[in-house]
Amino acid sequence: MELSRRRFAQAAGTAALAGRRLAGQQTPLTAQQVIDRVQKNVGVPWNPDSLDRIKAGDATAAVTGIAITAMATMDVLSRAAKEKANLVITLEPSFFGVTDAPLADDPVYAAKLEFIRQNGMVIWRFGYHWRARKPDPFATGLARTLSWTKYQIDDDVSRYDLPGVTIGALVDDLARRLNARAGIRVVGDPQTRVRRVTLLPGSTPLAAMLKALPDCDVAIAGETREWESVEYAQDTVTSGQKKGLIMVGRVLSEEPGMNLCAEWLKTLVPEVPVRAVPAGDPYWRPTV
């Protein structure tokens, strides 16, 4: 009897504790709590000096929903606001430059900031650390969007052996699956048949291209420089090698990696809706 009473008391105490914890969970989830959870779970040591910081809004704001994107354009923010997502997590800058520095007397900057304020939004950049995660979520995500995961070579998420396809057909497929407009640019003969692909999403320095192109038939990049990788790819083709370089645009190449980020965050933040809000291909071209 004595024992069971003690047990009862213990059980009641546990229930009370649990009740307090439950009550705690009902207090709103703040942007800072989401950020803390990401920092703890991303699997990359957090660098406090990186540019992954809040760019606008209040860290203590209650989060009603999370939108994840490669670039927090006004179009993305307005779509997020419609879906009641007020924490926007972005890979690229939001205020028109690498440091997201304020622009004095600029009407576009002022209007964007005002939209963010009116909608109680918080903009958090999360690029450096998501990029540093292993295996590379950008190559993984791009391959998944292209339905190529089954073609992966060994444990390298950037390399794939496709069933033979012409560069022309491959480009059409990429354009369709990535919802491209005018952002895709190609070096190489559309009739060339290719199998081995290397994915280089983002901005690719020459050193990475010098390493990748000799070992594959076609490299799919975000953006590269015309006097570097583009000329190297041209010369590779001229030398008689049946190869090519496809640039899909930086944002378009990175968006699948941020879709993957949204999937990951759903498991980490079950309290609020998490969705990917793609920025899309920024470019168009006149039809002449």
Partner: protein
């Protein structure tokens, strides 16, 4: 006449001191004492361009941009690269010499690359007084302006940002790896090549957002080659005023890309 004699004559006719610190304007391929049969001026000494110059009997290539895929034409890491070997072997076998002419063509007034770009745009008479890179034109739409430029410059992979219906009448123009920063007094920024995001100033995101707020702003990205190639024709014309011993031709290295139907 040797390749080096051509270069010395360029230095003499420049009308301004030669910057000996320029790492760009130097020989990249071949012996400076190579005997010149003919000169090809071009935007970029791609392997394809070198082969076409050789076929035309021109063994001295004067190129605006690099030969070996980096601004400094750094070749120390390229010894094992099969394309590097192919390109250097081809040049050696065919007695080619390649010299880069970049910094001084830009710094000598008038910058011939700039002259070529303004001509290719058809905008020689539209320059805003007192400003080198500002142009004004009768009001049109961003879509019509872009279509006109696309036709004039014969561009396959043109890229445009902004509302095609935006009414525009002024532009700030850059060339090469240069995109003017958006300012209140230019409706459109036009340039060769720029990082899409994460630069010092990201015109692309700014224009997207300006368009969202209904502002008449646009960005037209020509391509690096498209923006700077025309000026190398002016370079050939200039060379002919003081080099008469050998044939001189402007040969297009051309737009490197194709683009699927948008």
């Amino acid at each position: 006449m040797t390749a080096n004699e051509v270069v010395e004559r360029i230095k003499k006719n420049l009308g301004m001191p030669w910057n000996e610190k320029s790492y760009r304007d130097t020989f990249k391929v071949g012996d400076p004492n190579t005997e010149v049969k003919g000169i090809a001026t071009t935007f970029m000494a791609t392997l394809d361009l070198i082969q076409r110059a050789q076929a035309a009997g021109l063994n001295f290539v004067i190129t605006h941009e690099p030969t070996f895929w980096s601004d400094r034409d750094t070749v120390s890491e390229l010894a094992a690269d099969p394309i590097y070997k192919f390109k250097t072997d081809y040049c050696a076998r065919n007695n080619m010499a390649i010299w880069r002419y970049h910094d001084h063509i830009h710094s000598r007034p008038p910058d011939l690359i700039w002259v070529g770009l303004a001509r290719a745009l058809g905008w020689q008479d539209r320059q805003t007084a007192g400003s080198r890179n500002r142009f004004t034109f009768p009001q049109t739409t961003l879509g019509a302006l872009a279509a006109d430029i696309q036709r004039r410059m014969n561009i396959r992979a043109l890229r445009v940002v902004g509302d095609p219906h935006a009414k525009v009448s002024s532009a700030a123009v850059g060339m090469g790896f240069g995109m003017p920063r958006v300012t209140p007094d230019a409706d459109v920024v036009i340039g060769g090549e720029n990082p899409e995001a994460g630069g010092q100033f990201d015109d692309t995101e700014y224009i997207l957002d300006a368009a969202y707020f209904g502002r008449n702003k646009g960005q037209i990205i020509l391509g690096h080659a498209i923006s700077e190639e025309p000026g190398m024709e002016d370079c050939a014309n200039w060379l002919r005023t003081f080099v008469s011993e050998v044939p001189i031709r402007f040969i297009r290295s051309g737009e490197p890309f194709w683009s699927p139907k948008a």
